[in-house]
């Protein structure tokens, strides 16, 4: 027969503290990598983001989505382990108890909000009516703060639980039933499985196993697409014979037709395209080194550069490339990908590809490059 004491023994502080520690690590990785991605897209004077290694953003954003997905099973088990506390008496209790309950409500609400909106966003399913990026960013602070408050409140309990052995004393042996060790093993297996079935969109050797990843990793010329030419409304303008790329620096301005760009010295670089949505792919890009193009208009190597797309004005039709990336010899205005002329969906006639930057800032269908006055 199953006694009550035995049922309670699996749901124990020993299990909660250990799963909670793993969840805390996953949340910390997710929060920090998320902040990195935010500050690359919204630069602050104090924020420094290097151009090398070229795969750095691919790593941090891949980790952001992987740690977020791994947090789902960890959160499920963590909540399972404490769920009966929801119905503990006194139900209302004193002010301290109410405050503690409120802090847990904020914690659970913000965590489920972050994990659910993130999971929906990587599948491009906008079932919610609010704007994803700003709300996910704002709630990240609420969730991180709630985790820190929770640790502050529970610190003595966590310390005691982690200091004691996982299994209860042998005085009450549980014959052949699941052990707490099995709960931890199961949680680890579930977190590993969640990672394997999704991480292939950024870890190439996992591709065949990632049966639930929003991206198989395939696409035109071997690279997936996030925003198509149709969605951007550039099908006509990108293929027009009148297409010109304009490069300006103050009053100096030069225009290039596509044959003129193709006649310039071409360079090939192996660079990843890494999307904010957590997928990434490496490709061989061929084109003109941006610094050469900027030298043609006498730009300073310390100037930021604005990239303007043929796409009608919108949040991602123009971006500013920091000087550090603009002068890097790996930064190209690419005309070709993997040995072929850029597909229209990859930014034909030409696009920016810079090392260690979010894909959303690698402006496609370039029409103007402006040196930003210092």
């Amino acid at each position: 027969m199953t006694s009550d004491a035995e049922k309670v023994s699996l749901r124990s502080t020993a299990v909660t503290a250990r799963v909670g520690t793993a969840l805390g690590v996953a949340v910390a990785i997710c929060f920090v990598t998320g902040l990195i991605s935010h500050f690359i897209q919204h630069p602050q004077p104090w924020f420094f983001w290097p151009t090398h290694p070229v795969w750095l953003y691919r790593l941090t954003q891949g980790l952001h989505v992987i740690s977020g997905i791994a947090a789902i099973p960890l959160l499920v088990v963590k909540l399972w382990s404490v769920w009966p506390k929801l119905f503990e008496r006194p139900f209302i209790g004193g002010l301290t108890r109410q405050l503690e309950r409120l802090s847990i409500l904020v914690l659970v609400a913000s965590m489920t909000f972050q994990l659910s909106t993130g999971l929906l966003n990587i599948a491009q399913w906008y079932a919610f009516k609010f704007f994803f990026t700003t709300s996910h960013y704002a709630m990240a602070y609420v969730a991180a703060g709630a985790v820190i408050v929770h640790i502050a409140v529970k610190l003595p309990v966590i310390r005691r639980a982690l200091g004691e052995p996982l299994e209860p004393p042998l005085a009450e042996p549980v014959p052949r039933g699941p052990s707490r060790r099995a709960v931890l093993w199961g949680t680890g297996l579930a977190a590993g499985l969640a990672t394997v079935v999704t991480a292939g969109q950024t870890v190439p050797w996992l591709r065949r196993l990632s049966v639930l990843a929003p991206r198989s990793g395939q696409g035109p010329q071997g690279v997936p697409v996030n925003r198509s030419a149709v969605a951007a409304g550039v099908v006509g303008s990108a293929q027009s014979p009148d297409y010109r790329l304009t490069v300006t620096n103050g009053s100096v301005s030069r225009t290039f037709s596509l044959p003129e760009l193709a006649a310039m010295p071409q360079n090939t670089r192996s660079l990843p395209i890494a999307c904010v949505e957590g997928w990434s792919a490496n490709a061989e890009w061929t084109g003109i080194v941006l610094a050469d193009l900027l030298a043609a208009v006498g730009a300073s190597p310390d100037a930021d550069v604005r990239m303007i797309s043929l796409e009608p004005p919108g949040p991602y039709s123009r971006t500013v490339l920091p000087a550090r990336h603009a002068r890097d010899a790996n930064t190209l205005i690419a005309l070709r990908i993997n040995g072929q002329t850029l597909n229209l969906d990859h930014g034909y006639p030409c696009r920016l590809i810079a090392p260690s930057r979010p894909g959303v800032l690698q402006t496609k269908w370039l029409s103007r490059i402006e040196v930003v006055p210092a």
């Binding site: 609400a109 039933g177 697409v225 996030n226």
Partner: protein
């Protein structure tokens, strides 16, 4: 309360405060929708998902022999996680005609195969447990506290 805990509490509350301030920068209808989405997550977990899991566990414990609880419990957890991860891709609600590189897998098949793999592994584990030689740990695990081996033979003065 130690200084470390007070410091953590202050940092945590300030961080929450900053997040709330950022949320409040949204237009009012958005703030309402954000609050509803966050609240719905708690309600769905605490009063739908968790009770459902408890009911399944309660029923399972009465039907399934105890020695299989561990592999079946872990396989159930893995299946639930796979189903949760499949929610936003299963029916491809985010698919658009202009981009075939998003949601470009057969997700119902992927979910089926991954769940089948989980239960196949659980089955192998159970078969292994049933037919492989019993290990020393299992013998100990099945003993109760009043199971005590015979005392060692008394040692005589000349032993």
């Amino acid at each position: 309360m130690s200084a470390v805990r007070v410091a953590l509490l202050v940092v945590g509350l300030l961080t929450i405060g900053y997040g709330v301030a950022l949320v409040l920068e949204h237009p009012w209808p958005d703030i309402l929708h954000i609050a509803i989405w966050a609240g719905a997550g708690v309600v769905l977990h605490d009063f739908v998902f968790a009770p459902l899991c408890v009911a399944l566990g309660f029923a399972g414990r009465r039907i399934i022999p105890k020695r299989w609880w561990t592999p079946i419990g872990i396989a159930s957890l893995c299946s639930v996680i796979l189903m949760l991860l499949a929610v936003p891709v299963f029916d491809r609600p985010g698919a658009r005609d202009d981009n075939h590189t998003v949601l470009d897998r057969n997700y119902p098949l992927g979910l089926l195969l991954s769940i089948a793999a989980v239960w196949g592994a659980a089955l192998l584990y159970m078969i292994g447990r049933a037919y492989l030689p019993v290990r020393k740990d299992d013998v100990v695990e099945q003993q109760s506290s009043d199971h005590i081996d015979a005392q060692p033979p008394p040692v005589g003065p000349n032993g």
